[in-house]
Amino acid sequence: MIEFLNFYLIPGLVLGSIYALGAIGITLTFSILRFANFAHGETMLLGVYITWSLVQFSGLHPLVVLPVAAMLTVLAVLVIDRAFYKPFRTSPTIMVVIASFGMMLMVRSVVQFFWGVQLKGMTPGIQRPMVFFDSLRISPKHVTIIGATLVLMLAVHYLLSRTKIGKAMRAMSDSPELAKLTGIDTEKVIRMTWIVGGALATAAGVFLAIDTHIDTNMGFKMLLPMFAAAILGGIGRPFGAVAGGLIIGVVEEISSYPWIGTEPLLNPGYKAGVAFAIMIAMLLWRPSGLFKGKVF
């Protein structure tokens, strides 16, 4: 049982936290700008590499330089929005979806060009877990990741429910036409969406890099699970996305738990398929997601 906690549930929660942070950005873009942003994984990638460079430059801990890195990443995302997404505000969504797909290629190749493809580490070495009650093992970095995720989620909650811009974001997500009529500055709301999404994606990427390492394919490999999390939680529901991320992270890990006998229930080679399967099942069974999100 304790093994289940140590090696399946806790890693699942850590992974889930990372998915969750990324999924918030996806769900906001999806509901406010009305498109599935394929470049979101690459936003994460860019954020990680900027963080890495700042760490190399300053010698500080990644979490210390994270705010600066997030700002730089957000700046890049805003420039991208201005140059490549804004022309399509009134076009059919497919145009901007394809534009975001093109952006995915462009951002990744820029990262590969400037930083190279060699594997990099954010925090080299290994970290032995802390042991509680002689059996429960939690690694300090995992406590940091889960803790920081909680803090960021509270901040998002505060932003969306207490601030004027946050309320405008929610209004626009519920009904863009109505939001426009009530005099909400839509471009401002869109900017804020990119700021929140970009910053959280950077954080998610840095947490992933702290837990593992950095490589130029990490954006794409996180993209589909993050989509799955957003859909599972319900589009336009940031907390749904969080729940979706945690569920997908945990289910991915426990799918290979030896529930029956000693063999893994699901061949770990299929682990990557778990998120897709959940996502497809959810789309069919309840496209509005667990938390009654929007269905377009």
Partner: protein, 324 residues
Amino acid sequence: MDQFYGIFLYVISLLTMGGIYAILALGLNIQWGFTGLFNAGIAGFFAIGAYVSALLTTAPSLRHLGGYELPYIVSFAVAMAVSGIIAWGVGKVCLKLRADYLAIATIGIAEIFRLILKNETWATNGPRGVSMIPKPFESLPEPWNQLAFLGLILATVVAIYFLLETARRSPWGRVMTAIRENEKSAMAAGKDIEKFRMEAFVVGCMLMALAGAFIAHYLKFIGPNATDPMTSTFLVWVMLVVGGSANNKGAILGAFLMWAIWSASEILTSRLPDELAIRTAYIRIFLIGLALQIFLQKFPKGIFPEVRPKPERREVVTESNASR
């Protein structure tokens, strides 16, 4: 002399791959261009076609299923049929989803197919792939075998083009457009939307499988890496958007043009000094992405914009209002 002969052979290979991509783009055009189905899982159906045809035509091997050494015409037909049946199953559950959702669902399904190909080693030799696949006309001397294979591909492209053009002008094609433009009024006109969409989806996926079968025989090898989403799904989308969606000529031109750019741009970058040449491999992808963006913004309707078939009697044709 050698140089010219070499370039001649290279042009043959460009046209062959371009033709195979044209089949993929035409398949996608039925789904997206005419019916508005956002299929982002092209790679999945492409892979089904490639593996089915490969396993049916190879000599017996201990590494994978198959060894039937069937004639190509049978293997192509079976590949299309298998893909059609699977597409029907997928369509049954997914086609009711709206555009973006359908896209995400089909990406997920294609990735699951890929995982199956990688993990069911007994059938597909897993990640190591199927080797020594026969190629039509390979017993002919050079360059005639390559020309004959190219002829087969181009003839297929032309045949599909005429079939699709006929279908597009037929009442069937017009219902498709009506569904894409305004689902509700098509429904009000008493059209069984589900059925029409399903037909478009299945036919499109069958063409994708045919392209897959061709590629397996052309490469003489097929492995999971040959069906990655980048060059098997996304590149096809770029081709269709650049060429002009809902226009079959556009789909074909987009395929040849984008493949030529994709492939031939490297001949220039490989002339750079070594260290730069490695890095420009990434810049090449960047420029292709940028070209796509410029195209989307400047020519949103592609090189050949959609041309509506004229209704038979009335002369009323309004400018297509729904740009895509």
